[in-house]
Amino acid sequence: MKYMLLITADTGPDATQNECSVEEWLSFDAAAKDAGVLVDSAQLADLTTATAVHVDSAGNRTITDGPFTESREVLGGYYVIDVPNLDVALDWAARCPGARDGGSLVVRPVAEF
């Protein structure tokens, strides 16, 4: 069963600085790889580099600088892992450095067809 771990960071003015070191991220990466659960992962480039595409019912394409998120929480990166159930997925999410220092992880099952 595949789960996507969406890593969200708080970028608001009161946000606590994420104290996690590069080494901590590397060691989480290595742990997921060694356990054989890692399917894919990436860190997303800065939010200011994002572009939004919207296609209306007439097929017209609108491209804007975006996304215009209301909240100050921004998707910063993701992991896709393959594990037997939600509890195991939650364990991996809890080990991820992105879950600390004001950040959080949302765990979403990947739909199976």
């Binding site: 069963m1 037997p84 939600l86 765990v107 099952p109």
Partner: protein, 431 residues
Amino acid sequence: MTRRAAEGPETSVGSPVEAAFREEHGRLLAALVHRFGDLDLAEEVAAEAIEAALTHWPVDGVPSKPGAWLLTTARRRAVDRLRRDKTYATRIAVLQAEADRAEPAPRVEGGGLPDERLELFFTCAHPALPADERVALMLRCLAGLTTTEVARAFLVPSATMGQRIVRAKKKIRVARIPFRVPDAEELPTRLPGVLQVIYSIFTEGYAASSGPQLQRLDLAEEAIRLARILRSLLPGEREIAGLLGLLLSVHARRAARSGPHGEIVLLDEQDRGRWDRPMIDEGRALVVRSLTGGKPGPYGVQAAIAALHNEASGVEATDWPQIVALYDVLVGLAPSPIVAMNRAVAVAMRDGPAAGLALLAELADEPLLRRHAPFRTVQGDLLSRLGRHAEAADSFRRALELAGSEPEQDHLRRRIAAAEQQSGSAGPMAD
């Protein structure tokens, strides 16, 4: 399959039979979930097996092992169904393979059926489910209540409760919430969630949040039954003993808590002769168990407070210093504005109403208490004891705006009237 079968054992069956099936239902369901890893399938075949029993047993006699008969029948039906539906079968096979890989083999004790209800407890109370769905699932799956009964108990439309249960089951299936007992390391973090669900069910039974009745005894009794099952499954966990002790110590006063017309009777006015002594004794024994050895937990401490009330011959004879001391412990273990409020009441009984009122004043800005009717009631009570009747009436009026059940509202109207009369006669315009 009839609608009734889909709903599980129904009230149309005779009461002792209904009770027996309700008792079997959770066990049967848990065994089937463990085997097939699918709650919907387990519910359907459990209901079919119970229906088959209702047809066959009156004719052929009750089998020597009713539980085993039900399980065998339900398993056969499930296997039939899986054979008919190949895609379903594939999915179940995958689930089962993963369940086998992730978990040890089922335990079988002393020749009886293995009892897998513990897995179901932890699944129903999984933190990934919203609180109201946890309560609904536990009543549905472990207490064996029908969706309609669960809806009635929580005064929501049957359709709403149905949706909650469907949503919870969908999340269990799609997000794959596992049917498993947490290991020893996880247990301390996961068990409080299970206890919380049982406690929530009891709380709604003890003081209904709305409706014509003050208490919903059936719901309180279901909570006690669930706590008893949980205790039998995890006899070493002292907080389960604490929770059961608390529920029994409070439930023992049920007959004295309301008057002949369903009105509220406060603790200081209750006829203590109507308290259930055997239940009090059982509660006290559990308190001792829950507080013996190691650090006490919040349910054990609350049970000890309830037991102290039960031991006193009256309000004046109550050991208030000891109760305040226990609240001090509780504030350290599980701090909350509600605990602080209850502690203030105990302090008022020990040191006088002014002392209690000062503590309440410190809590007035707590968001949780601003919308909490009992906070205003307690405040009004202490004010009236100090002779500040006009202010007391104001507090009771604010409580009335927030009050839930009809008996609670009636009680507050009487308190308002009494306080207004007192303040009138005490005021300059009295004559």
